[in-house]
Symmetry: C4
Subunit: 230 residues, 4 copies
């Protein structure tokens, strides 16, 4: 894929966030990586989505150095890079402050798997990643946000939960590419919304039984998956 196509895909992912109501003003950013070239295309910081053009997206290398583009990259760029460096299997990252996922982040709670909608997405809780320490904030806030997420996935692969909420902060999602990551951010938000109302209706409800969870997840993601085409 050319860098031009990657720019277009990353733009599409950013617009998808807006179209699905995940972004207020400029609160969100999507990026995609070209693994061969080792280059990441990311939204510029604080630029309105309405005016965003592919050539305004910023290209950075895996050290966070701007390689192409006259605008500053998203202030969360180092978090994106930390995830790309640690997880070779991902091709896109999205960060938003979407309402309901952020409510779980602010409440410092994981999102329990209450049903098949969630099980289709990931086979268990969506982790709530620990808050950064004062030293981590001081040293390198954005890079250490990436570190906190990675720490939270010590015993979990990024494919097992294509997203997480960071305590006191908000959701991050990832995927095969930028558009897939944006889809996962949309799913994460909608699962959070449903979970919130499920708890309000029945505060002590159990999570989905393990055997239903596994079935639903595998019919979509397992070796013999039969959801979707192919």
């Amino acid at each position: 894929m050319s860098l031009k196509s990657l720019r277009e895909e990353v733009l599409k992912a950013n617009i998808q966030l807006v179209d699905n109501g995940l972004v207020v003003l400029t609160w969100g950013n999507a990026s995609g990586i070209d693994r061969k070239r080792g280059l990441v295309v990311i939204k510029p910081s604080g630029v309105s989505y309405a005016d965003l053009r592919p050539e305004q997206l910023v290209v950075v290398d895996l050290d966070g150095k701007v390689v192409e583009g006259s605008l500053r990259p998203s202030s969360d760029m180092k978090t994106h890079i930390a995830l790309y460096r640690t997880w070779p299997e991902i091709g896109g990252v999205v960060h938003t402050h979407s309402t309901y996922a952020t409510a779980f982040a602010q409440a410092c709670l994981p999102i329990p798997c209450y049903g098949t909608t969630h099980a289709d997405f990931c086979p268990g809780d969506i982790p709530c990643v620990r808050a950064l320490t004062a030293a981590e904030v001081d040293e390198d806030y954005e890079a250490n946000t990436g570190k906190a997420i990675i720490d939270g996935f010590a015993s979990l692969s990024p494919k097992e939960s294509p997203g997480a909420v960071v305590s006191h902060h908000g959701p991050f999602a990832w995927g095969r590419n930028a558009v897939d990551a944006a889809n996962n951010a949309i799913i994460l938000e909608n699962i959070a919304l449903m979970a919130l109302h499920t708890r309000a209706l029945h505060p002590n409800i159990d999570p989905i039984p393990e055997y239903i969870l596994r079935k639903h997840h595998l019919r979509k993601h397992g070796p013999n998956a039969y959801y979707g085409q192919k």
Copy 2:
């Protein structure tokens, strides 16, 4: 009705789900049956609604065998077929993960009849159908989801409640045809939303008195109904 008309009606029903906010991404499917031919037209699995064309819909027989179409049918196809086989009076089936009906499903709670909006739709609780056993999931998940719904209606006709929520899963609705089923899915979602807020305002509120419920239901659905035209 020709199979071509049925395709168009089923497409319309699917689009209606999107237009009324019941569907996120590809989470939903509507089908309709041609009783004479014994053929069901259903949404293909995991295909985006934006691009859906009538000829992409899949035609299956009542054994679930694909008769027309090059795409895979919805992964929930066997649930639809189980309902069509057991209930000759229905002509359309809809499954969604709409937010509020799914919240009740995930909380494993029926939707009590709190008011006339609900009574117009069905004369009592909207049943919450039991979860499948591990053996049922193992054996044939989708067909047994249909079985669980049918079991839940042992003493209830599908006309008495044109929908149900399945524990840990989400809502199913049905009707005279695909568009009617989609309408019922829309109503189910809105009743769930109202019920949720009613409980939040007054956790111990009683359901609507039986005599009001019956009056409202009969003015719309009884032998001397006077709601609507004719």
Copy 3:
């Protein structure tokens, strides 16, 4: 005003309900009265708003007899007429099943006046009108719904609260004409939404102090009102 203009105004009021999200499917109706002729123009029953044309609206007299139009009037027509007959000061009536006002109706609770948004609309609680008795339902359900509303306003003028919620049912609103009644239905719904969240945040919060309530109401509706133009 000609009957033709009244038809257009009533159509506009009906469309306003849809545009403001107060109506799902066909759940709502607006009417307006020509006091000189003693004729009421009202939405036909169960007809989709998308297709509604002025000539489809039904004209009835104050006994509920259809004077013009080939369609059935709204099934709630007798409630509208009961209000017009008792309250000569009103010129329009609206009934909806809007989500949040209906939640209060289903919880059988009045909407307390928690703030200036509500005080601008009416100087006190929005009444929750009693449920009908079994005998009243039996005898004449829709006319007696009007009677229950009127009973609830024994010590209150219809100008003091341009709306009410009926227990187990939903909201009614009224105004100088059909468009004004639709505006009041929109306000009622939004006040209900705010009240619901106010209670969730602070279950024991007091209503707005009387002296602020009165000031806000009078600056909009009193003899020396200075809100708006004129």
Copy 4:
């Protein structure tokens, strides 16, 4: 900036409130000030946003006297003027009855800083300003609403919290100019929405740790800010 440009900017700010769902009917007003001329451009009272044209906006001086325009200024004009007179650093003021900020106002509660979304906006609680006394309401309601806000900021600069909620009433926001104030009103509403759900999920959750709050606020607003472009 010419008065003509200011009119256009104030109109844009008013429209932004509608486009972001902060305004029902005519419940809201934005203004901007020309500090050199000492003139304020403000929305006319009770005029529909759909029809609003730049020349309908009203120009008043800092005593509230209408200098240009044939319509009455917003009934909240004196509150705007009180803020402009006391805070030379602000260039725009917005008042709305947006749903969630108003719910906090009606519950008489400040909006605690639960996360980084809020910290980006202001480094601490969004104040809930005291209710007016009966004497203050009697004497000059709108001017004294401004006074109550200013009293609430005795130990806080208007830049530290670009908004507040007034007890039993609703939110006010301000900024460098009218459009910036409208942006702040949008942020305030969204922060309120997130805070409300955060509390519902976890009623005793602590606010964001001070060191994260400070970091986030400073990366956007501090002397070495690196959010946005330049």
